[in-house]
Symmetry: C2
Subunit: 713 residues, 2 copies
Amino acid sequence: MPREAKYDVLFEPIQIGPHTLKNRFWQVPHCNGAGSDRPGFQAAFRGMKAEGGWSAVFTEVCSIAPGGDVMPWVASKLWDAGDVRNLREMTDAIHAHDALAGVELCHPGGLAANAETRAPAKVVSQIASDINYLANGRALSKREIAALRREHVEGFKRAKDAGFDLLTFYAGLGTFPIYFLYPFYNKRTDEYGGSFENRIRFTREVLEDLRSEVDGVAIGMRFVIDTLEDPYGYGDLGVRANGEGKDFIAALDHLVDYWDLNVGTLNWGEDAGSSRFFDTNHEAEYVKVAKQATSKPCINVGRFTDPDVMIGVINSGQADIIGAARPSIADPFLPKKIEEGRFEDIRECIGCNVCVSRWEMGGPPIWCTQNPTSGEEYRRGWHPEKFSTARNADKPVLVVGAGPAGMEAAVVLGKRGFEAVHLVDAGSEMGGHLNWMTTMPGLRAWRRVAEYRERQISKLDNVQFIPNTRMSAQDVREYGAEIVIVATGAHWAGDGMNTPTHDPIAGADATRPDVATPEQLVVEGKQLGDHVLVVDGDGYHMASTTAEFLARQGRRVTYATHWETLGPYLRYTLEEQRMYQRLTELGVTILSQHLVLSYEPGKAQLVHLWGGNEVTLDVDSLALVTGRYSDSALYDELADDQAALDEAGISQLHLVGDAHSPGIIAQATFSGHRLAREIDSPNPDVPLPYIRERRLVGATEDDYTLGAATLLG
Amino acid sequence: MPREAKYDVLFEPIQIGPHTLKNRFWQVPHCNGAGSDRPGFQAAFRGMKAEGGWSAVFTEVCSIAPGGDVMPWVASKLWDAGDVRNLREMTDAIHAHDALAGVELCHPGGLAANAETRAPAKVVSQIASDINYLANGRALSKREIAALRREHVEGFKRAKDAGFDLLTFYAGLGTFPIYFLYPFYNKRTDEYGGSFENRIRFTREVLEDLRSEVDGVAIGMRFVIDTLEDPYGYGDLGVRANGEGKDFIAALDHLVDYWDLNVGTLNWGEDAGSSRFFDTNHEAEYVKVAKQATSKPCINVGRFTDPDVMIGVINSGQADIIGAARPSIADPFLPKKIEEGRFEDIRECIGCNVCVSRWEMGGPPIWCTQNPTSGEEYRRGWHPEKFSTARNADKPVLVVGAGPAGMEAAVVLGKRGFEAVHLVDAGSEMGGHLNWMTTMPGLRAWRRVAEYRERQISKLDNVQFIPNTRMSAQDVREYGAEIVIVATGAHWAGDGMNTPTHDPIAGADATRPDVATPEQLVVEGKQLGDHVLVVDGDGYHMASTTAEFLARQGRRVTYATHWETLGPYLRYTLEEQRMYQRLTELGVTILSQHLVLSYEPGKAQLVHLWGGNEVTLDVDSLALVTGRYSDSALYDELADDQAALDEAGISQLHLVGDAHSPGIIAQATFSGHRLAREIDSPNPDVPLPYIRERRLVGATEDDYTLGAATLLG
């Protein structure tokens, strides 16, 4: 059905400098692991968003000069002609869909570890780096500031050469505009330090240079309007929206064409807020202040996936343009689906920050829990909305298990035109472990993984969900399917088998009333005692989620892990600090670098990982989050009897998701998706060859000496 | 002078399978950040070692199949024809110098995060991963074990195709031979688990396959003969040299041509032991046991840089061949220098593990403290032993400051044929901050950085050291130099200016008797009180070194850092555990995630970084390791008066090392080296263009679809 008229506001064009934005959807800068050295990946990934209706599509952070080399993190680069050539492939891909190409330009200053170029870091004042342990940087002399201005201008010129329409001068996360602006970084006593005018001098100078030397493009800023209070931000040493944040915009408004606004610090989990801690549009109270100081179009972000929230943002005067990073990853076709009124087809971001985590690790390409095609547009040639008809579409398919992997496989097989796909589950509804896990504190939004797929399945006549049916190997063989996909999931270990010792924990036995796994706590409602020890051998969220769950039941909780911090992967999803604080507020005691050696009611014995000192805790119960075991018995039984499979006419048998390897949801959806995409290949268990990346577009062997023209300049 | 005859044993040829090793120098497998995707870097880096006299030169760990993708760590790969093509460039470069090319082949199993390929991990038994938080892996079925055997054989065949002569089947760090062998990993109850015979079955099967299908090459193993005791190793769940370590060798000896031996676990700092905790040849007591079980040539490692230790290893029957990783990085020409009796020219590894740290971070290319050309052989075209004559060699040069950067600059300028290089220092000897720092506990070997350069300078008639001379700007201008290089170092902040707050610490004032910086403690011998609080805002070794220094003076020490662990960069240098234990043994209390807010005699106020809970410590003194300030005043004064420079005839003025950006020693030597290499370029402060890497040798635009033939196979 067509969209209601109230959503039309999202599709009104708006002028941005010399360009017209065809609608109000703006993919703000965000990382994907491509940078400038994987030009095919970058172009296909961004081009897909343009195809999906985003009227502006940006790179990630783009370094203007070799002195700003953030390796091992992957940024774009515009250092030389080779980079221009590589990124032109991206701008061409965006222009092909009548969208504008944007780039977020900066010199990342002290954030740059320069691991590859080995240039020394540049800083405004010499203070040991927030982020790189090995260098304090050089406080710029005034001559060096002048040289840095030129570096910026030359970088912007290269951006224009690469075909970008929207040139964002980035003022966030370790860039010079904020190094100069914040008293946190700027301790100078010359004309670049002290007063507000002095602290914006560099930025104004650069913008003035750009205005006189770079035309035909829109020039704007991405600006952190509020750096928040302790312990999340810089307090008095940063800027606040109603203070210097607003002043900054007012002072420079005549020099820019647009303002892309957000909040936060290097602790950017306060901006890319996970759904466990932040609602949609959580930055509104800060970013809306900008409109008091500017007449230029404003872009806001806030994990927008709901069209009603979006029109509220515009109609209330909060902002003019809907910015999105994560929602555009989860669904590159979000604008098109809203435009066409296909709201039920929106693949909503769940705010888990797995996308962020891959970049934070330094190097890996993006993964998305909801969108398994993310990052695979070039390498594997996957389109999130287009599916080829399978060569074996006439074969009936049985998918056993309707968790994330099984549902995703069923959806893709359905879209690939299989005549009959039966998705069978022992439970009464689709979702697998999401059904119980998403009832735990903070995880409600993760339920969207199941909801999206449930809606898709309901629209596919060729896919049928059959609930309340637990299948034996014999049932499978007699079912009449020719293709069988087993997606039966995994369960948390009930014996304490754990990472550091590779052994069960003495006394850990979840068949006892005082010992439980997460499933037992939630699904069975098992009640533990007054003081529970939660053991984390997982390293991601489940142990802290379980600690929160138990603490909210009013129990006293001690959380122990052999790692140096709680759920170390939460650092990559930008959730570590918030989770630490939440548990602390709930009275949870956190013991890091401790192994749990044994447990008996009333007593747990722990030892410091390296110190060797023993600790005895007076706990009366134990929650085990030490690892998972695959539920692959059905598959194993089927696979072990090839003759019976042959006799049953089953020509293909596959294992996907946690039943193969217990992992995160993103790996489960990927696993089901990949199998379904390649179900008609010669051996679907072996992924098809994919495209390995070029480093330089159109390069020849003689073409690899490229200038590092401004490495120290 | 020619070498003494007693060293001849190092140059006796020895037979390795079908090949003859021309001498006893074997560059064991080690990482450099090149892998298969930076073929030029890889070939030039390894070829340099062959040129320097190593008779066998290996890759790093080389993955045999896409299911073993260790990204973001950088391994070699032999997955397809493109990888074969890329690595053939390396084998050609090695063969050009009459050396043998080796490769360390493995499937890294559960160590593989498969961040790029997204294949699920493979494991022997399903236990939550030691190292990747997100996946538990699939316990291999017997069919899958058979497929894995084939993957190994196919990988070895590709290695032969790539031109490798020495094919090492790797049995260490997360590879299948050890997954099967160690009870720590292997909990199976089928014929691949349980008895020793069962636990070596897979490895024997693979070796038998290799023997029947791959000929014309030497096939050996790299084997961890001892997995050490708790808390460093696996204790009863691993192998010990005198037990199953020796048994493993005896059982498989007939199937291999050589044994490359070491010790340790995933905690590989026990193998690549830093000089702070391990002497040269520290593995001898374990690895020498192998000779009891084999008749094949044995290779040992142990940070060998001393020719007398080397001949001891061979003459004592400990091993037949001197293996080296780090010593070959610090000096690719180590064998040649021994061969020619030029012992004074050996650039000895200092055992700081900065090389290791770059790889551990995932992505960055190698850095070496001693050898600034390491990793730059291809990119910047630097040869560690060859230097072009500078175009401006007739201009007199003044280098102010004889620390690592100044010394390195002077050495390189001397070798580039400058007529007169004067290296001036305020102190009485060369070395700069190394002179005091290397008297601190554990850092004696770091003194080699100064010693090597001192020896080189003593051999260069055109380089003169002038001690005990502190220079003013006027002195510099009147000196008569045309080129001036300022390398005046840095000092530790005496005001507590620190990373997390970007402010001085209230009450921290090193002019007081109860507050000290590291220099004050060592150089001035400043005596603190009975209970010292050491503040770490540095993140590397200096705070823990200072804590050890003070504890060894008999003081009670509390160490506080806002990070989650002591000196977090020590994790990358593999020193964290040992340092934690050393400090614990010395009675030091370690407080992580705590900010120091204020200090007064008798009291320090701290706050938990996130929890917000305050802690008061009854300390009577404070040691500040919070950051460093550059001593660049001389340079700044000179640079600020261009007219005076012109008048003085100074046409070039440069700033290098810590005086520019306080960093690690490796950055200081690099900084001095780079400037001296490019001192005759148009603008020596701006690095010359360098070669950016190809991803695929000889590729054309049509040539980027390469097979992932065995991704799940």
